[in-house]
Symmetry: C2
Subunit: 213 residues, 2 copies
């Protein structure tokens, strides 16, 4: 069991295939065979790398998060102010490539299994924890700790809720509505803050340069 280049390559490939299958077929419709077929290999081979289905889906969860994490990082390293860091988290979560019903479906499918699988639970906890941490680092410089805590929670809960809606009604909520909702929240939480608005504008611009369309 040597973790070669090949090993990493295959696990990445198959995790991706699993994530995509999940998004198209739902949890009940996702079988090891289908994932293998989508990746153009045999079911046995997929099992060879992951051992069992649970670990395959676990890696699919990680895979889906990795994309998002990269997007966040890309914006975060270009941020110079606390407000810019806050908006990095927000914008990354609603990036045009990622905030789509397809991907939201995959998320939903995985989320539904989390309560019944401690392993998924740990991963998801880590994901939420990181989002919270990113927000807190920024918000602590903008408000007292207590308030920063509840604002961070509000932001991340709202993000979750918008993803949920995105996956639920096809064509109901898209990037624009989502960002508008986030802005309604931010403007209410921190009214008339020029620094905030400047940061929003800058991150918005960076985002549209990094990821045009």
């Amino acid at each position: 069991m040597k973790r070669n280049k090949l090993w990493r390559l295959r696990t990445e490939e198959y995790s991706k295939a699993a994530f995509e299958t999940l998004s198209e077929e739902g949890l009940s419709g996702t079988t090891v065979e289908k994932v293998a077929k989508r990746a153009g290999v045999s079911k046995t081979n997929v099992l060879h790398y992951f051992g069992n289905k649970a670990r395959l889906l676990e890696m699919a969860l990680r895979y889906g998060n990795a994309d998002l994490a990269r997007e966040v990082s890309a914006l975060l390293i270009r941020s110079n102010t606390p407000w810019e860091r806050v908006y990095s988290v927000i914008e990354a979560n609603f990036s045009r490539q990622f905030f789509t019903p397809k991907i939201a479906h995959a998320w939903l499918s995985l989320l539904a299994e989390i309560p019944y699988n401690p392993s998924y639970q740990r991963i998801q906890t880590a994901i939420h924890q990181r989002m919270r941490s990113n927000l807190m680092h920024a918000l602590e410089q903008l408000a007292e700790r207590e308030r920063a805590e509840e604002v961070a929670l509000a932001i991340s809960v709202m993000i979750d809720g918008l993803w949920l809606r995105c996956g639920l009604h096809e064509g109901g909520i898209g990037r624009d509505t989502a960002l508008q909702q986030m802005e309604l929240l931010m403007e209410s939480l921190f009214p008339s803050s020029p620094a905030r608005l400047a940061a929003k504008a800058r991150i918005d611009e960076i985002q549209s340069i990094l990821n045009p369309g």
Copy 2:
């Protein structure tokens, strides 16, 4: 196939059993047999009433919503002002009996299937539509239509997000945190509004009378 008293009784019983099974076993762990066993009858009998598993789960979804709808109604009919109606929707959604990880799990399980089943989709759309409608009737008397629309969406998205979190991390978010988050949102959206705060207090009181504990 006469829809007798017995018919309604059984469908109600079995829908409930399905909902509970869902919450304890998750979607993948929910089988017709388990639901039947929980209801103390044979699998055949359950199938006799529902025809197939999809319709059983569909009724489970309706069942779960019926409870919530009753709770909302109970508060709504006792409301006298727009603000009270807004808080009726909010409080009902975080009632002590309903806002529990168990129930949130069942919801999550069903939500994950919605994108892949038009029938569930219609039901869920109706549910969201009714929440929106309840909120809009009240909010239109408190703000311009445009603003009412986006505020109604913000409120319901936040409610969804809090339910999601409740189901995700056991012991993470409970009724208190949830209501505190909703209040953060409402206070930010409508700062220093005595009428709003009075309404909140009244509905809170009514709720704790209707549903003590």
